[in-house]
């Protein structure tokens, strides 16, 4: 009975971790990880989705690898992690160039390799080394989802504001287009306001739960 309770508790904690990394303690907006691809390459929704997929493709297998690499010296793990990540990304780049879109690869050829040293992964190294594989996978999935949500949202907004299109399709939402949305300062400021919105939402929800507790 104790074992079953423990297993359920671990699963619940892991599920909570998934939701935290994805939304409430978002890996980008609260933990400030993975900013470079969003700022530099998140200028169109296609770029955002491609980089989000690259992130997931690398994070999940590498988190599993790190969860089972406990016997390796601590200082060696980041090096192996980076090498494996870059190998996975070589494969991803090959698939993108030959089977998805040559234009997309040309736009992202500099940023795909940079995903290997994305801080979203390096943060996971320390986490994955001390918990069980299920928690590691859910942590990685949550981080990948959190990163993906933010990069896709920012990329979509920047594409609409910059070129008046979304996924290459013209959308008449804004009366003018602003080429400056490609610049990094726009991404920094948008991220700041998104982080503020998330923080405001968290405070409101906390206050609501606190009021319900006080009412009881």
């Amino acid at each position: 009975m104790n074992k079953k309770n423990n297993a359920q508790r671990h699963l619940w904690n892991s599920a909570q971790l998934f939701v935290e990394n994805a939304i409430t303690n978002n890996i980008v907006l609260i933990q400030a990880m993975g900013l470079c691809p969003i700022i530099a390459a998140g200028t169109s929704l296609k770029n955002g989705v491609a980089l989000a997929i690259c992130s997931a493709v690398v994070m999940i297998p590498l988190s599993l690898f790190t969860a089972f690499s406990g016997k390796l010296p601590k200082w060696l793990r980041p090096a192996l992690y980076i090498l494996l990540a870059s190998l996975l990304l070589v494969g991803t780049a090959y698939v993108m160039q030959n089977y998805v879109s040559t234009q997309l690869f040309a736009d992202l050829h500099l940023f795909i390799p940079l995903m290997a040293v994305n801080m979203v992964y390096t943060r996971s190294i320390g986490y994955a080394a001390v918990v069980n594989p299920v928690a590691t996978i859910l942590d990685a999935l949550g981080s990948a989802l959190g990163f993906g949500l933010v990069i896709c949202f920012i990329s979509a907004l920047r594409e609409i504001a910059g070129t008046g299109t979304l996924w290459g399709v013209t959308v008449d939402i804004l009366p003018i287009t602003m080429k400056a949305t490609d610049e990094p300062f726009v991404a920094f400021i948008m991220l700041g306001f998104m982080a503020a919105t998330l923080q405001w939402t968290r405070h409101r929800i906390s206050a609501l739960f606190q009021r319900k507790e006080d009412d009881r």
Binding site: L29, I30, A32, M33, G34, L35, C36, P37, I38, I39, A40, W75, L76, P78, A79, I82, L83, S86, L87, L89, V90, A93, Y94, Q97, H109, L110, I112, P113, L114, A116, V117, N118, M119, T122, E183, P184, F185, V186, A187, F188, I189, L191, G192, F193, A195, A196, Q199, W200, H203
Partner: protein
């Protein structure tokens, strides 16, 4: 001998011009975003900013110094899909050498900087600069690449110090609760990036 001295002088001037441009005018974090997460991690420990920037500089300079002649030697012999892997492999080798040698030759230094080595070696700044140098290989040389690497790391140190100073001033009761912490820091960095845009020249990282 005279020609060699003249050549060295010209290359040194190119190195210095790239260094000054990149470190003071075209801040790498604010114009490309390279190293922005790293900056926001280091900014929480202001005492380590310059030490960390120094270690970052060593890794960056050594990576571009080894990658440039290797790239020239390989020429078209290595598919462009594998070149980033080559850059990362160089950094990995440097990191492993640092972790093997430092504990033996300078154990006190290793005790102090050992924890910073993974972050200093594996980040978007070191890899990004190496990739940018590789992308501009036809219109650059070893000296300009070294100038770019040193300048980028100095600009990283400068902006991290500036953000650390800004954070101290933003930590006051007048700041709306919603914007306290990360939101205000991101907006502040965005405004700095907007200000630096005025200095952006013909040289482009990307």
């Amino acid at each position: 001998m005279k020609e060699f001295t003249s050549y060295l002088w010209t290359e040194a001037m190119e190195l210095i011009s790239f260094f000054v441009t990149v470190s003071l005018l075209q801040n790498v974090i604010l114009t490309t975003g390279f190293g922005s997460s790293l900056m926001l991690s280091i900014v929480r420990k202001p005492k380590n900013i310059w030490l960390f920037s120094g270690i970052l500089c060593i890794f960056s300079v050594l990576t571009v110094t080894i990658a440039y002649p290797l790239d020239q030697w390989l020429g078209t012999g290595l598919d462009k899909l594998w070149r980033p892997f080559m850059m990362l492999a160089i950094t990995v080798v440097l990191y492993v050498i640092a972790n093997l040698l430092l504990p033996k030759i300078a154990p006190n230094a290793y005790a102090k900087v050992g924890r910073m080595l993974p972050m200093a070696a594996f980040n978007n700044l070191v890899t990004g600069i190496a990739l940018v140098c590789n992308a501009h290989i036809t219109d650059s040389n070893l000296f300009t690449n070294i100038g770019l690497a040193i300048g980028s790391c100095l600009s990283f140190g400068l902006i991290t110090w500036l953000v650390a100073e800004g954070i101290e001033r933003m930590d006051n009761p007048d700041m709306p609760e919603t914007f306290r912490g990360m939101p205000s820091i991101l907006v502040y960095v965005g405004i700095l990036a907007l200000a630096i845009m005025g200095f952006v020249s013909d040289f482009s990282y990307l």
